[in-house]
Point group: C2
Chain length 173, copies 2
């Protein structure tokens, strides 16, 4: 029987679509065991982190901010892989805050040109943030940062939006 | 002003005690901003992961299992860094389950010799698990795995038990 860790291993030479399709399949398999949002987002961060690294894409942060139930209008740090991160983000502020507010994916080729960008890590140059939305309510955002400019494209957007749909329907919030 | 990510950067040439002392100071600073357990354990996983990697210790998993409020006698996966992990562990089973049940640190030089060891990742060879205990109740465990045998010693135990104390008193569960 394969170990859970094997879900983080991707074969060499696969295309981005193939690797991200594999992330979707692994996430579906793993989340069929539990609807606990912390456990599911923790494993999802690992899947995404290892997927991008297998592709040689210099992702330096992959994880989640979720709606802070204690403070209205605020996101709070969820599970992630990467360096230590800002704990809270106001909805509407920065790239994550914009995705949460507009309920639309933010594909940012150069974060330094994004109005109100919050630099948790000054080495980040590009970013994609996909909102987790159900019944028109934002439950959180999937946030991925890259050390290089133009780190993400329409293929990332397509698969990560599918992943966001799987996440939102598999978790109890 | 330094970025949050700078907490994950450790100078070269420091001793293990110096690096782990720095983890304690960073955790204290970060957790002074929030008592949210998910945010604090997520940043703590990053601190511990980067600390061990700066020391050249081959840690392949660093993170948390917490008490599952939905299922009695069970731990569920919390924030972590590393490859995809088992979602649930019965209290009493394996190294994490033993730490949760006995409320004592488990310092395991060779996991393959540990009765009932659960292999989330077959590449793990040694492990340290420190229980998070308050008022004689186990809230979770800090779990760190190493690719090499004898990855951890009394110094790790000393500092990680101090870290567990900081965690248990800084978080709302």
């Amino acid at each position: 029987m394969p170990n859970h860790a094997d879900h983080s291993n991707y074969s060499a030479g696969l295309s981005k679509s193939e690797v991200l399709e594999s992330v979707l399949l692994s996430y579906e398999a793993l989340s069929s065991d539990t609807s606990n949002w912390v456990a599911n987002l923790a494993n999802c961060s690992s899947l995404v982190w290892h997927a991008y690294h297998s592709l040689g894409i210099k992702v330096n942060w992959a994880g989640f901010y979720v709606l802070n139930k204690e403070v209205e209008g605020e996101l709070i740090l969820g599970p992630f892989h990467g360096k230590v991160a800002c704990q809270t983000i106001k909805i509407g502020k920065g790239v994550c805050g914009a995705a949460a507010q507009t309920k639309e994916t933010q594909l940012v080729a150069n974060v330094h040109e994004f109005p109100g960008h919050i630099a948790c890590d000054g080495d980040t140059n590009s970013e994609i943030v996909v909102p987790l939305v159900k019944d028109n309510v934002t439950f959180g955002v999937l946030d991925i940062d890259c050390l290089e400019l133009n780190g993400f494209d329409a293929t990332d957007r397509e698969y990560l939006e599918k992943l966001a749909q799987l996440i939102i329907h598999s978790c109890t919030w």
